[in-house]
């Protein structure tokens, strides 16, 4: 059974250092949530406070409206998979998985069946008798997950468990983890610094920096509508262009006027804002244009990465990165490699950030 989690104004200070500041969030039952942020942003400390491994300096943690802030870690029934996995080296696979069952009143037959079912769930039915040092990285990962799930937890917490795996195996394990979570419908929180990982498996992404939440939203939301400069820069690639408010509808970038789809309210003429534009949303035109939402520039660097061509363009001293498909690039360069290009910024791709 999975329950909803609520964190209210949670903070953690070590002396004068504020690791987590005033964090509030809700994790609805059955959701897969990712805490995403650079290292040192407080995401692991937040997870450890939820697990009960760290005591918060202030704030409350509730599960289904029940306050568990002071409940000891072993009474919370939250499973945790550690970054280093923390499998017990002196126990074999079966004994590792059955560890949490020691603290419950079940007989040997039930225990045996549960371990067998969990080994089947992680698709490793025949490794029960193996020692931990005989397992590969991916197998250890799955055993750690099975061990955590054996206690039938209310909440499943994972602290960067895939970071030690190579890229291919990590991709594979991400899919497996997501499938497992959907199959068991268990409320899950995954801590990661890998935005691709967060985007590909989470229902909700919590972006953190400097101990604070920067934005909470679905992967699409945080990608399409970043709340601030940090999120726009951290999630995917973004051009962050300094601009001034011209009027209620337009921004000025150098000599050019840009009209975004929407403007923040209460802005006055001349106020500085940041215009965020994704490289792949910029349209490239061969001939310099002098209309609205167009910049011109000189290509300084071209990089072919297979599925796209990445260009660095100098627009009156500002470096803007644009990406285009190989087909469009060859159409653009039909009359030889262009050096001067026009960049068209469609209104829907222009996001105005004030913080």
């Amino acid at each position: 059974m999975s329950l909803g989690l609520e964190v209210r104004q949670l903070s953690k200070h070590y002396g004068s250092q504020r690791v987590v500041s005033d964090v509030s969030l809700t994790v609805p039952s059955g959701q897969f949530v990712c805490f995403l942020g650079p290292s040192g942003c407080g995401k692991t400390t937040l997870l450890r406070m939820i697990a009960g491994l760290e005591a918060p300096t202030s704030g409350r943690i509730l599960i289904n409206d029940r306050d568990i802030t002071d409940t000891p870690v072993h009474e919370r029934n939250f499973a945790m998979v550690f970054q280093a996995l923390a499998l017990f080296p002196f126990l074999n696979v079966e004994e590792n998985i059955a560890y949490s069952l020691r603290f419950r009143t079940i007989n040997a037959q039930q225990r045996h069946e549960m371990v067998r079912d969990l080994l089947a769930l992680i698709k490793l039915p025949d490794i029960g008798k193996r020692r931990i040092e005989q397992l590969s990285g991916g197998q250890r990962q799955r055993v750690a997950i099975a061990r955590a799930l054996a206690q039938e937890p209310m909440l499943f917490l994972l602290d960067e468990p895939l970071s030690a795996l190579d890229a291919r195996l990590r991709d594979h394990m991400q899919v497996e983890l997501r499938q497992l979570q959907q199959k068991l419908h268990i409320t899950t929180i995954l801590v990661t610094h890998d935005q691709r990982e967060a985007m590909s498996i989470a229902d909700t992404v919590v972006v953190m920096a400097d101990g604070r939440i920067q934005q909470i939203g679905s992967p699409t939301q945080i990608y399409r509508q970043p709340a601030n400069r940090f999120v726009a820069g951290f999630i995917g690639r973004s051009n962050l262009i300094e601009a001034q408010v011209e009027d209620g509808l337009h921004l000025r970038v150098g000599e050019r006027l840009i009209r975004p789809l929407s403007m923040p309210a209460m802005m006055s003429h001349g106020e500085s804002v940041t215009l965020a534009v994704r490289p792949e949303e910029i349209r490239l035109l061969a001939r310099p244009q002098h209309e609205l939402n167009c910049l011109t520039g000189r290509i300084t660097f071209t990089r072919d990465v297979g599925n796209e061509i990445e260009l660095r363009i100098d627009c009156e001293g500002r470096e803007i990165i644009a990406a285009t498909s190989p087909a469009q690039w060859s159409a653009l360069g039909a009359a030889g490699e262009p050096s001067e290009v026009a960049l068209q910024l469609p209104p829907e791709s222009c996001r105005v950030l004030t913080s």
Binding site: A51, G52, L53, P72, V73, H74, R76, N77, F78, A79, M80, F82, Q83, A84, A86, L87, F88, P89, F90, L91, E95, Y99, S100, R102, F103, R104, R147, A148, Q151, L157
Partner: protein, 279 residues
């Protein structure tokens, strides 16, 4: 340099150690089967009289006392040294260094001085008994030595630095995430300790126990200074036979017996930790 020359050059410490071990043991064995001679260290000829005398009740009781003392001091020193080491490893780096330097410093004190200090501490006039009276644990001040308890206390004090220094590397490198994993899997703190910390440290713990027991088996001054003759272990009887009784063959035979017992104890310990405990 040729390979064999290098081998010779590097093998001398091993050869020297071997020689310095083999020669005294060979001498011990030789003396143990010689007849005693009041005019010389030992007499000429061969006899198993010294070994036969080990079957006498006083020898058997002394051996039993030696083993009891070794086991009790081993248990007490590991029982006290383990938590002490565990807490030292959780301290800040500077405090850890301070503790280790302090424990090393106590090793420089002579055991005669330490035994004398314990005599003073356990005496009726200025000793611990006055504190016990103040705490209501005793009716009136009394002398706490000579007694078996006094011997155990002094020996434990002497071996605890070895216990801590033996356990320190293992406990300071203990992966704390394993304990945290056990806690998140539903283990209360003490179950996490017994089911994770103890299995992870069973080899160094056994080594610390054997070290304490072996050091106790060879102790001489503390049992003499803090015990009565009926408390004396075999090591004291060996000393008395060699120094006061001028019966070197009997002392040698008892030493051989103690050597065998020590070897058996160490072997038993190795066998005990080699097998994985079943959970």
């Amino acid at each position: 340099m040729r390979r064999w020359q290098l081998s010779v050059l590097l093998s001398w410490p091993a050869l020297a150690t071997l020689a310095l071990t083999v020669v005294p043991v060979w001498l011990l064995l030789r003396i143990s089967i010689a007849p005693p001679d009041p005019a010389a260290p030992w007499g000429a000829g061969l006899t198993f009289e010294a070994y036969r005398s080990l079957l006498a009740p006083d020898s058997i009781h002394a051996l039993r006392r030696s083993l009891q003392l070794a086991v009790v001091v081993g248990i007490v020193s590991v029982g006290a040294g383990f938590p002490l080491t565990y807490f030292i490893t959780r301290m800040q780096r500077r405090a850890q260094v301070g503790w280790l330097v302090f424990l090393l410093a106590t090793l420089t004190l002579s055991d005669v001085l330490i035994a004398f200090s314990w005599q003073v501490m356990l005496s009726k006039r200025i000793g611990l008994s006055r504190i016990f009276v103040a705490l209501g644990l005793m009716q009136q001040p009394d002398s706490l030595a000579p007694s078996v308890g006094a011997i155990i206390a002094c020996l434990t004090y002497l071996v605890i630095p070895f216990t801590v220094l033996t356990l320190y590397p293992a406990l300071s490198q203990l992966d704390r995430s394993l304990i945290e994993a056990a806690r998140t899997l539903g283990a209360p703190a003490w179950r996490a300790f017994t089911s994770v910390v103890l299995p992870l440290t069973r080899v160094p713990t056994m080594v610390a126990f054997v070290l304490a027991a072996v050091l106790t088996l060879g102790s001489f001054v503390p049992p003499v200074a803090l015990g009565k003759p009926e408390h004396w272990p075999m090591s004291v009887l060996i000393g008395n036979a060699a120094l006061a009784g001028h019966n070197l063959p009997r002392a040698a035979a008892m030493s051989v017996l103690l050597l065998v017992v020590t070897a058996l104890l160490a072997l038993g310990a190795v066998r005990a930790v080699r097998h994985r405990p079943t959970p």
